[in-house]
């Protein structure tokens, strides 16, 4: 039995959701990835370039400190995104030398990388004004699942954008609306809930990276198949 997760992230300026497929559908994650890629290409999406998302977690040597998760995304090659646990969804956006700083702190024994590095690698596709990133998540040579990221690029307004992405997923991958709404991650549902009180619902890349972080940490906790 193989449990494959399709994680739908709306990068750039919208949002994502998580959908668990029936476990008996595919024999391996590679086969599932191939099947979805074929489906996307048949629908008219065109391959552009590879994409990659990395997550490195730095655990503190001192017990009082917090674990720091550092993420990098190939869409933002000059930036790195850092998140300290229990920091109320606040993400630090720094330039990519921040990783070098964390490694320096590691050599000074302030932090250590006990947790394994998570990687999501795959293909970036384009369809009309949508950008689709389909990748395989792996943890030290072990495949954990699939990540699918969908973005509608010329927009940063979340309310209408979410409906647009939902409809895109329904039509392109034949996913029912209820399934998409039911399996939305905590970060995403929190963001959508918070929109009710806000006038300006502008989407920023940190929200995407927060969603990635949730997914990758969740996958790390899963036992290997």
């Amino acid at each position: 039995m193989l449990a494959i997760k399709i994680i739908l992230i709306v990068l750039h300026f919208i949002l994502y959701s998580v959908i668990q497929l029936p476990s008996g559908s595919f024999k391996s994650p590679a086969e599932a990835a191939e099947s979805y890629l074929e489906k996307l290409e048949k629908g008219g999406a065109k391959k552009t370039r590879p994409f990659q998302v990395d997550l490195v977690s730095y655990s503190p040597s001192i017990t009082n400190s917090k674990t720091v998760h550092v993420l990098s995304h190939s869409e933002y090659p000059a930036s790195s995104f850092a998140f300290a646990e229990q920091s109320n969804s606040q993400m630090l956006v720094a330039d990519n030398t921040f990783i070098a700083l964390m490694n320096k702190l590691k050599t000074l024994r302030a932090f250590e990388t006990r947790l394994p590095k998570m990687e999501a690698r795959g293909t970036r596709l384009e369809y009309q004004d949508f950008v689709i990133n389909l990748g395989t998540v792996s943890q030290s040579q072990t495949t954990k699942g699939l990540v699918l990221e969908v973005a509608y690029v010329p927009m940063d307004e979340t309310r209408d954008g979410y409906c647009l992405i939902q409809e895109f997923l329904q039509s392109f991958l034949n996913m029912p609306k209820q399934m998409i709404q039911k399996l939305i991650t905590e970060q995403l549902s929190h963001w959508i809930r918070s929109l009710k009180d806000k006038k300006d619902a502008e989407y920023t890349p940190s929200i995407t990276l927060l969603q990635y972080m949730d997914i990758l940490i969740h996958m790390r906790k899963q036992p290997n198949e």
Partner: protein, 335 residues
């Protein structure tokens, strides 16, 4: 008329005198022609005035009085045209009598002739157009013939009256400001209930006759640039609002967008600009209607296609808005 034989010096002098006499007669005839043309233009203007008065007041009493006036004017025009025809015949006859061969021996005259050419002096045409009174008279009559083209007439009149060649100075900027203000007022009246304004409109003036209207639709995230010369939409560019936020310091609104949906919308707005401004239509009405049409793209991401009841078709929203009903369709659903 060829000169006879005899003393060559005297012969040349006689030929010269005869040519001078012919020239004097020709000048007199030309003067008479100009006077007749002046009277003819005045009479035509008078006739045009009477015609417009008749259109505004169509009563039986005025018809009787105007009929007699019309017939006298017609007779006057006929007489003047006949006079002008006779004068022209005389002018042609005199020119035929002119001894052109005599000029070939006179280098001075030939060089003077060259001096009169447009290439050397350059101001000859301007001088001619300024002195020609009939051109001014034509401009006076023009609004009676085409009352809708006020802007063109005014700018053109200024251009013709000046001695120096001016650039076309269209008074379109206040005109566009007025249209935008009217649109703003009408939209505010419609959106009284909602506290926040979901659009912004501004006019950027590049010159007296070239303006850019920037129309931002916040809900749909569109930034629409209308390049307007006088009151004609020359070019339309649609960009996403988020691009402006990201590249505010280095934002180029002259480049076309890379996004498919926005490119299609720009094409539709260009089509609407042509549709709302047919030949002879009021320029302010056409531009006002176009602004209303553009404001209907506010629901780009929310409204479904009237035909297929879907929002996305082939990854695109319903980008077409009907010119009359403003209903939205996908391009594929139109047929």
């Amino acid at each position: 008329m060829m000169p006879g034989t005899g003393n060559p010096a005297m012969n040349i002098q006689a030929r010269q005198n005869q040519n001078d006499e012919i020239l004097t007669r020709c000048l007199n005839i030309t003067q008479r022609l100009r006077e007749n043309l002046q009277v003819l233009l005045n009479t035509t203007k008078q006739a045009a005035n009477i015609e417009t008065d008749e259109q505004s007041l169509s009563s039986s009493t005025t018809n009787l009085s105007s009929n007699s006036v019309n017939s006298s004017i017609r007779n006057n025009i006929d007489r003047k045209l006949y006079d002008m025809g006779t004068s022209l015949d005389q002018l042609v006859a005199h020119i035929e009598q002119y001894d052109f061969k005599l000029l070939q021996n006179q280098q001075v005259l030939i060089s003077h002739y060259n001096e009169l050419s447009y290439e050397k002096q350059g101001i000859l045409m301007d001088e001619w157009s300024t002195n020609a009174k009939w051109a001014d008279k034509l401009i006076d009559i023009f609004p009676l013939l085409h009352p809708s083209n006020q802007l063109y007439r005014r700018s053109n009149q200024r251009n013709t009256n000046s001695n120096i060649r001016l650039r076309i100075d269209g008074p379109s900027s206040p005109f566009i400001d007025r249209i935008v203000a009217q649109f703003d007022t009408s939209q505010q009246q419609q959106q009284q209930q909602s506290a926040t304004k979901d659009y912004s409109i501004s006019v950027q003036r590049l010159s007296d006759h070239l303006n850019i209207i920037e129309f931002s639709l916040f809900r749909s995230g569109l930034d629409i640039y209308l390049y307007i010369r006088h009151c004609t939409v020359e070019h339309v560019i649609v960009k996403p609002l988020n691009e402006k936020k990201q590249f505010s310091n280095n934002f180029n609104n002259k480049l076309l967008t890379n996004y498919r949906a926005l490119d299609i919308i720009a094409g539709h707005i260009r089509a609407a600009a042509v549709y709302y401004a047919p030949f002879g239509a009021q320029a302010d009405q056409a531009l006002g209607k176009l602004l209303i049409y553009i404001s209907k793209f506010q629901t780009l991401h929310a409204q479904k296609c009237v035909n297929c009841q879907k929002h996305l078709l082939n990854g695109l929203q319903p980008t077409w808005r009907d010119f009359k009903t403003y209903e939205c369709y996908h391009e594929e659903c139109l047929n």
